[in-house]
């Protein structure tokens, strides 16, 4: 008797179902995507008991006729592609033709559909077998009802979680789709209660507002950036807000929601030094990549994509987020009262960043161009905000003059100035910390730090832990300008010190930095040199309470204006706070 047998199609479908249909949420995902592929403008989802007893998705799409309807339940039957060649550049959500049969194979499925002209069709299937096909009254569109999911797959059933957690997964799936397809009205209800009712939205922000509330959406920062053929848009959390609410990540590539750890890492890398170590920002990012540079046919649930060349894409994401963080308030920030001084246009953010010495140098320009076969790349690049040539030219230009508004120091802690739309306060310590941090990082990278020789070497006695911290970081301290030798025991003899500013107290800074390194508050910061730069910057910066002269304030302002991320210090606190006139007016009852 032969040991090997070709499986009956019902069994094969059940096995395939294991890949596509893991839990009710995946049923919802497949059905809603089908609805969207059918050109629906409204999708209504009804769920009962976390999807165990019922998942029903109704749309007003183009529907199917009597002939097609039963075929939809056959494996690899699809309207979306015809030949293998169509797989490249596929734009619809589904295309494998395996979702519906897979779902049908593990449930009681009823499909009602109508193309709008003439009678509709009802197909009733049980455990993958079509039981009957009959006429039905139905408006244009399709309704798929899935009951008794996994009733015939006890292994799956056993692995379902409680209905609350299955419901949460469904809500996540629907939210993700809703963020991507903002033109569609989506209604989701659970056990008879309406959970989400989203009208068509004009923007990502409006959709986020409809899901999580307008206040949440308003506090997000807009991201918009293009590099070569890759375009990144979206909204990200302000560093000051990170960690205050639960974190949400939404990534979409060419309109398809995906999970991609690499892209998330790239976006998070842009936050480095603006948020405390260990906290993660909320991200809503949508990438547009030429379809031939990305392969979406990797994962049955299509949650993953493969980039032909992932480096330039990740770099563009990081750049995009960094720009958004760096230019938060930037356009107006550097040019107080633009209306009153027409000669001073707000500095183009692009120019400022490109001029900043540590701005990412376009290392991968060539790669990106090379990876993109001619036509697509040039077409996409032409649409980009700044063509690469212009960016390079900007990078070589000296930094533009920064217009300094009249500054006053208040509370010996903040610099205050007026601008057209309100008052701006700058925290002098945070600002200086940010300036020094970026300068120290540059010095560590370039190895050119000024080091002032001392007439009288400092003898610094350290505790054992501090001495060890010093030893560990000896090379980095040296790169920053500290020249020190061990002097027996835990004593170091410092003969030269950094000279970051005239008020710098080298000995105190060294001690505090070592104490800080020992206390390890920065432990989670990825790289040791960044951690040291952050610590030293914090210790070397002017403190709250230091009276600053007018020249010092101006110098601080100019230096801050030319940093990469002026709005945040290395701990993620804000350096800049903006009091709007309307807020002030309201306080005075002038509203």
């Amino acid at each position: 008797m032969p040991r090997i047998a070709v499986l009956a199609s019902a069994v094969a479908d059940q096995i395939a179902a294991g890949e596509v249909v893991e839990r009710p949420a995946s049923v919802v995902k497949e059905l809603v995507e089908n609805a969207l592929d059918a050109g629906a403008s409204t999708v209504e989802i009804v769920v009962e008991d976390g999807g165990r007893t019922l998942v029903r998705v109704a749309d007003d799409g183009h529907g199917m006729d009597r002939e097609d309807a039963p075929l939809a339940l056959a494996r690899h039957a699809t309207s979306k592609i015809r030949a293998a060649g169509d797989l490249v550049g596929v734009a619809s959500f589904g295309f494998r033709g395996e979702a519906l049969p897979a779902i049908a194979s593990v449930s009681q499925l009823v499909l009602e559909t109508s193309t709008g002209d003439g009678e509709g069709t009802r197909v009733v299937a049980s455990a993958g077998t079509i039981e009957r096909v009959e006429p039905a009254a139905r408006r244009r569109g399709t309704t798929v009802s899935v009951r008794q999911l996994f009733a015939n797959a006890p292994a799956r059933l056993a692995f379902l979680k409680g209905s609350r957690s299955e419901w949460r997964a469904i809500a996540d799936v629907v939210t993700t789709i809703a963020l991507g397809r903002r033109d569609v009205r989506i209604v989701l209800s659970h056990d008879g209660k309406e959970a989400l009712a989203l009208p068509p939205a004009s923007s990502l922000q409006a959709r986020i507002g409809a899901v999580w509330g307008g206040a949440f959406a308003e506090r997000l920062l807009a991201v918009e950036h293009a590099h070569g053929p890759t375009n990144v848009r979206g909204l990200v959390e302000r560093p000051a807000d990170v960690g205050t609410a639960s974190r949400r990540v939404h990534l979409a590539v060419n309109g398809r929601a995906v999970r991609d750890a690499g892209l998330v890492r790239a976006a998070e890398a842009a936050y480095r030094s603006t948020i405390p170590a260990g906290t993660r920002p909320t991200l809503f990012l949508e990438l547009t990549v030429p379809p031939d540079l990305v392969d979406v046919n990797v994962h049955p649930a299509k949650a993953e994509v493969r980039f032909r060349d992932r480096w330039p894409v990740e770099r563009t994401v990081e750049e995009a987020v960094r720009h958004a963080l760096g230019t938060f308030e930037a356009g107006a920030w550097f040019a107080p009262r633009p209306a009153a001084t027409p000669g001073w246009a707000p500095m183009p953010e692009r120019a400022l960043l490109a001029a900043a010495p540590a701005a990412p140098v376009p290392l991968f320009d060539d790669d990106a161009e090379a990876a993109a076969p001619g036509g697509v790349a040039t077409a996409a690049a032409a649409g980009a905000a700044v063509p690469p040539d212009a960016a390079e030219e900007l990078a070589q230009r000296p930094p533009a003059e920064v217009l300094v508004p009249p500054l006053v120091q208040v509370g010996r802690t903040y610099l205050m100035f007026e601008r057209a739309d309100g008052l701006v306060l700058i925290d002098q310590h945070s600002a200086h910390e940010r300036i020094l941090y970026e300068r120290f990082l540059r010095q560590l990278a370039s190895g050119h730090a000024p080091s002032q020789q001392l007439l009288f070497p400092l003898t610094v006695h350290l505790g054992p832990a501090e001495a060890e911290a010093f030893e560990q970081h000896a090379a980095l301290f040296a790169q920053l300008g500290y020249r020190a030798e061990g002097f027996g025991g835990h004593t170091v003899l410092v003969s030269a010190v950094p000279a970051p500013h005239p008020r710098f107290d080298a000995e105190q800074c060294l001690r505090d930095t070592l104490a800080q390194l020992t206390a390890d508050r920065f432990a989670a910061t990825p790289a040791r040199h960044e951690r040291l730069a952050a610590t030293i910057a914090c210790k070397a910066a002017v403190k709250a309470g230091d009276a600053l002269s007018a020249d010092e304030m101006r110098a601080l302002y100019v230096a801050l204006a030319t940093t990469e991320l002026p709005a945040h210090d290395v701990h993620g606190r804000s350096t800049v706070v903006h009091l709007r006139w309307d807020e002030i007016d309201r306080r005075f009852g002038r509203a």
């Binding site: 000296p398 000024p450 007439l455 790169q479 000279a499």
Partner: protein
């Protein structure tokens, strides 16, 4: 208390004392000037508890007494008075009236008992030094003190008194200035560390030809001329051993024209970093070259002819330290000596015909590489 004084004498007295009044104080009476009658006129006193200044001016005293008067208002009033004799009278502990021509002021003061007592300094065995010599030392050295609070000792000027010479030294740990004068008949040997603010008063208040009596109390130093006296708190030593850091073996010697050198450094500082002021000097036979490079800004070069003896050397400095020192070089030519890029450079006047000796040290500012 009642006296009459000319407007000019009042203004003169107030301008001497006014600078010792603290602009902000938690002790209200320190914002006042103590006015007391003496045999010959009145004495005005002011203090911020670190430094105290008292000066006597001529006045016609009708009835003796004393009171404290708000300094700022009194000075403003004196400045605006018409050129007539000023009649000042107190009634009770706190009320003052001031009349000048047709102008009349009533002020509220504080009782004179509230005014802090001046430090007890006995002038019995005082040193006698010509004010001009002291002022010469102060004006050449005091600029170099540290303004940073972490090492209080460097916030003071070291004043070494010896039998045959006196010397002042000041440093902030990056640069040092030292000046020495021969004196005759100085008594004993003392090392005093004096706050530069007090020295500034000495430089300002006493005419150059006047002979000063100088005496040390327990923790204070007193300076006295027939009319004016200044008291200052002393900073507790010991002062760092500066002799040890003055290089003796600098074998590279450069003689440069001070004006050329100064203007070249000033040109370089335009491009030097606002924060570190770093410029590079390259000494070669016959030529001193300057270079500065500041990322984000630009670069500059310059050169001046010099006399240079030794192997060529490149060395970096904080330009503002060099300029400060050059300002106090009394000769047209200046002598620089060097050893190595991480060793102290000295700067001295060249061919100075003066009994005094001046020397400045500047530590280099290196670029780590």
């Amino acid at each position: 208390m009642r006296f009459t004084i000319t407007r000019e004498k009042l203004q003169e007295g107030l301008s001497a004392v006014g600078a010792s009044i603290p602009s902000k104080t938690t002790l209200p009476v320190l914002a006042n000037i103590l006015v007391e009658t003496t045999d010959k006129g009145i004495r005005l006193s002011g203090t911020d508890l670190d430094i105290a200044v008292a000066t006597e001016v001529a006045a016609d005293v009708d009835s003796p007494g004393g009171i404290t008067i708000p300094a700022k208002k009194l000075i403003e009033i004196a400045r605006e008075l018409p050129p007539n004799p000023v009649k000042v009278a107190s009634s009770g502990d706190q009320r003052i009236t001031l009349e000048c021509g047709r102008s009349k002021f009533k002020l509220l003061g504080l009782p004179k008992d509230e005014f802090p007592a001046f430090p007890a300094v006995k002038f019995a065995n005082a040193l006698r030094i010509k004010s001009g010599e002291l002022q010469q030392l102060i004006s050449h050295v005091a600029f170099a003190v540290s303004t940073e609070e972490s090492r209080p000792i460097l916030n003071g000027v070291l004043w070494e008194l010896r039998a045959d010479r006196m010397r002042m030294v000041a440093t902030n740990g990056h640069r040092l200035a030292k000046m020495e004068l021969p004196v005759n008949g100085g008594g004993g040997s003392q090392d005093l560390i004096v706050p530069p603010k007090a020295l500034e008063q000495i430089r300002r208040l006493f005419p150059a030809e006047e002979e000063l009596e100088i005496a040390k109390g327990e923790n204070h130093l007193g300076f006295r001329s027939p009319l004016t006296s200044v008291f200052t708190r002393l900073i507790e030593g010991p002062y760092p051993n500066y002799e040890q850091v003055i290089p003796k073996d600098n074998d590279k010697v450069c003689i440069a024209d001070k004006a050329l050198l100064t203007s070249a450094i000033k040109r370089m500082s335009v491009i030097a970093s606002d924060q570190t002021h770093r410029i590079k000097l390259s000494f070669n036979a016959g030529m001193l070259k300057f270079a500065v490079q500041t990322p984000d800004l630009g670069e500059a070069q310059d050169e001046i002819p010099v006399r240079f003896d030794g192997d060529p050397i490149d060395i970096g400095f904080n330009a503002s330290y060099l300029l400060e020192v050059l300002r106090f070089i009394p000769t047209d030519e200046v002598k620089l000596t060097l050893k190595a890029p991480e060793r102290a450079a000295t700067i001295e006047p060249e061919a100075w015909k003066d009994p005094a000796a001046f020397l400045a040290l500047v530590m280099p500012l290196r670029l780590v590489d």
